[in-house]
Amino acid sequence: MKATHTFQAEQTVSGYENKTIVQGISLSIPSNKISVIIGANACGKSTLLKTLARLIKPTSGSITLDGKQIDKIPPKQLARVLGLLPQSPIVPEGISVADLVGRGRFPHQTLFSGWSKKDYEAVAEAMEIMKITELANQNIDELSGGQRQRVWIAMALAQQTDILFLDEPTTFLDITYQVEILDLLTDLNRKHGTTIVMVLHDINLSSRYADHIFALRKGLLVAEGEPSKVITSELVKDIFGMDSTVIQDPVSGTPLIVPIGRHHAKPVTPAAPASPVSPVTSVNSEAPAPASSTPSKDPVLTY
């Protein structure tokens, strides 16, 4: 099992150039759990993740790992504890899958060393977890999007960090692959105890897979906790500006958000049996157009 760490952000402010995006967030990442950061587009969830993963230097506030400022920890040492899969990693041309996964071993290697036995073991284990063993000697250019994403995660796994950050690991993937990737990450957490922190776009998948939710609005943390306690139609209204009704996911029992658009409301007939959707009636007639505040790219609206 992976080691337990305390990872905390204290009044963190960060952004780009002269634009502040994260407006002062304090949080503590639950160790050995899956945390998901949710929020509307441009709310700063990705910036927050990048700041936590030391890709962006906070303009104020502090981020500490086991009580130590992360920018004071030597980069290679930190890279053995904390890994990150960026949103759109860059694929070097013509490289084989095993060699790419092996690059995740960098923080464990010295200047001149070749691959040690440990390196091979870590690469093999990462590839087995992500179920890409048979692709080992294939060229990465030949893979599909879903396979590539598994290769990238395998590279992050080969790094063998206790904490793994993932920036929208399921974007651009078909729903099948989204679920598959999230299942694999859950395996990783349950079997190895890896602390996972990710940004996800899909709030329903988030509430299903997360142990802990961080909900952001305009660069501020507005709610956090277990999905079943945090995810309510008020919260959805608050962070996405969209009316919805929250029901129980028939599969997982976790909260499931059903958006209320301006169309498609089921006509209310007195004979209709009491269904979980019925509370909708009170709001649907004057529901505002949600699409204007939430870009339609959001998967919540497209399902």
Binding site: Y16, E17, K50, A53, R54, L55, P75, K76, Q77, L78, A79, R80, L82, G83, L84, P86, P89, I90, P92, E93, G94, I95, S96, A98, D99, G102, R103, G104, F106, P107, Q109, L111, F112, W115, Y120, E121, V123, A124, E125, M127, E128, T133, A136, N137, Q159, F165
Partner: protein, 344 residues
């Protein structure tokens, strides 16, 4: 299960590693053969044993002078410049993930050249001053191109290349202007900086290049692993624990110094830095460091082109003309391909 996987991965890597070793060895042998040919061939061709005897200090009439004074410095200049151009070009291309991002194409060589020509024609400076000025100008040009292509928030390699090509055109105009203004007797020295040639290389000019290569080539080769991580992009590299800024600066400074010093001796031998990396990568594959193979391909390109330039035609052509003929079509091909892919 896991042991099978490990064996499978080890086997795959062994195959790729074997390919790297075989190809690199062949390139090394080819380089040695070309070095020998450079010493043996000329107005009069001498057999190997005569060349070796002349090299070891024995006085043989005719042979000693031709080999030791003319052919040996020519060969060494070509060997070292080719190696420097190949490694430096590979470094830029890998770091910026684009074969076009190359000192020859994005104006860094022209920056060095313009400074050198200025020092020669306007200041009549000494060779040392000229070399130092050209290194500094190369670095300054790099910084200017980088800053101009970084418009506040985003950095695009396509933009860097286009700006580099623009800067290159501007610097070439500066060079032309300086030449028009210069005294007639400065022109032969100036020409050295403008067209690549191994003609008239002298032994006493070589030490700075030897020192440069001995210091900076190992730095680049040692940072090969870091370079392969930088190739994954800023974010991945940072999260893998690479200090991206320091590494990038070390690599750029090493590469620019090697290019500038080599250029001060042989002139910018067209397209060698540009062609070596991609050829080497095609030959050895992408999994292992391409620095040494790229350096060897550079050696082969320079020496083979020089031999072709000397002996294949009625008139003798300097090496830069031959490499130019080889490189130009590839440049056009790359531009068309990148344009199709939407990279430019």
């Amino acid at each position: 299960m896991t042991t099978n996987t490990i064996a499978y991965i080890i086997e795959g890597r062994r195959v790729r590693q074997r390919r790297w070793i075989v190809v690199t060895s062949i390139l090394a042998v080819l380089s040695v053969v070309l070095c020998c040919a450079m010493l043996m061939l000329g107005n009069k061709n001498y057999p190997v044993q005569d060349v070796l005897r002349a090299l070891t200090g024995e006085k043989i009439k005719g042979v000693s002078f031709a080999v030791n004074t003319i052919r040996l410095p020519r060969m060494l200049a070509g060997l070292m410049a080719g190696f420097a151009f190949g490694i430096a070009g590979h470094t830029f291309q890998t770091m910026l993930r684009n074969p076009l991002a190359n000192p020859n194409v994005i104006g860094i060589t022209s920056g060095s050249g313009a400074a050198a020509v200025f020092c020669i024609t306007m200041l009549h400076a000494s060779d040392t001053v000229i070399s130092i000025a050209s290194v500094i100008a190369g670095l300054v040009t790099t910084i200017i191109i980088y800053l101009l292509s970084n418009n506040g928030r985003s950095f695009s390699i396509g933009r860097l290349i286009l700006i580099g090509i623009g800067i290159q055109a501007m610097l070439d105009a500066v060079i032309s202007y300086l030449m028009l203004k210069s005294a007639q007797y400065d022109l032969p020295v100036v020409m050295r900086w403008l067209s690549g040639s191994l003609n008239g290389s002298k032994m006493n000019e070589l030490p700075p290049l030897v020192i440069t290569i001995v210091i900076f080539a190992p730095i680049i080769i040692m940072l090969g692993k870091h370079l392969s991580i930088l190739e994954l992009g800023e974010q991945s590299a940072t999260s893998l624990g690479v200090n991206t800024n320091k590494t990038r600066i070390a690599l750029i400074v090493s590469a620019v110094i090697m290019i500038s010093i080599a250029t001060s001796i042989t002139g910018p031998i067209a397209f060698v830095a540009f062609l070596s990396g991609p050829i080497a990568k095609r030959l050895v594959g992408a999994g292992f460091s391409g620095a040494i193979p790229a350096g060897l391909v550079g050696v082969i390109l320079v020496l083979a082109s020089d031999l072709i330039g000397q002996f294949a035609f009625e008139t003798r052509f300097p090496v830069g003309i031959i490499t130019g003929i080889l490189g130009a079509p590839y440049l056009i091909y790359l531009l068309i391909r990148m344009n199709r892919k939407g990279d430019l």
